[in-house]
Symmetry: C2
Subunit: 140 residues, 2 copies
DNA sequence: AATAGTTTGCAACTAAGTTGCAAATAATTT
DNA sequence: AAATTATTTGCAACTTAGTTGCAAACTATT
């Protein structure tokens, strides 16, 4: 277990267990968003289905990862950047989903444009989903 | 069965059946987005679960309704406006989901802002999800 | 090293969604 | 308007996704 990963878990007041470390490492290596199924595949039979569900849930609660809404209704999870904290998710992200390879990127550094709503509506958060062809698929 | 509803179905080359007409009417009355569960509740035991699934699927294919991605992973369906046609959905919508009452509105007439992506990424469509408090909840 | 607190895996369950097929309904033809 | 054809529906059975309770295993604390 990498000390860096243990640090992250401790910082969120979570005990450093095999499964948590492994799943967190997966996210760091991938760099993109993952589904529950992705993680189940990549970890093989190492951990129980239920453990993966619970780990993802805990990570979301602690602000380590966040969920991404998708059109095809598969829940995607991705690492939060430092500005994400407990109870404060989903806001102001731009997510890019490749039509070709389905890889999902968090584009945290892109400015989100201002959206004007009709009278009577007040905004608390915005999620922007962009579809298209990703850098990787374009280069090949 | 209203003739207007029959018209809509015929226009999409669908035979006008009880279930289709009833479900389409539901959407028109609601004016907001509905989930499969909403429809199952509102129609009672009138139609089989499977029929509702298939009807929604058909409506999406024919461009009568479109799906809305949500953070909590419940598939929402809403009536398409006239500019929506078969095979051409999801693009350039703004959807507003109320934090309080969970009602979902399609804000079709709001301009979607331009989004600039990093080099190598090309956009084919955009889905914007806005959370907040809706007009209705604010007035009360 | 022993104890207290947390997490995991298992089993069993609920909920969501899909598929094949015979019966019922809608559209078409005569 | 009756008969034929094509489409749609409901049922049953199934797969997949997600949840819950609880004893055993593991982490953290003393």
């Amino acid at each position: 277990m990498k000390t860096e990963i243990i640090e992250i878990l401790k910082r969120s007041q979570l005990s450093a267990t095999e499964s948590r470390a492994a799943i967190l490492a997966l996210f760091q290596e991938a760099g993109t968003a993952l589904t529950h199924a992705d993680i189940e595949k990549k970890t093989g039979a190492l951990f129980d289905r239920v453990t993966i569900y619970r780990t993802l849930q805990t990570f979301v609660e602690k602000g380590i990862i966040h969920t991404i809404p998708t059109a095809d209704n598969a829940i995607l999870y991705a690492l939060c950047k430092d500005n994400c904290s407990e109870g404060n998710h989903h806001d102001n992200h731009i997510h890019f989903i490749c039509d070709n390879c389905s890889t999902t990127y968090c584009l945290d550094h892109i400015n989100i444009p201002e959206i004007k709503l009709p009278k009577g509506f007040f905004i608390s958060g915005t999620d922007i989903l962009v579809n298209g062809i990703c850098k990787n698929c374009n280069d090949n």
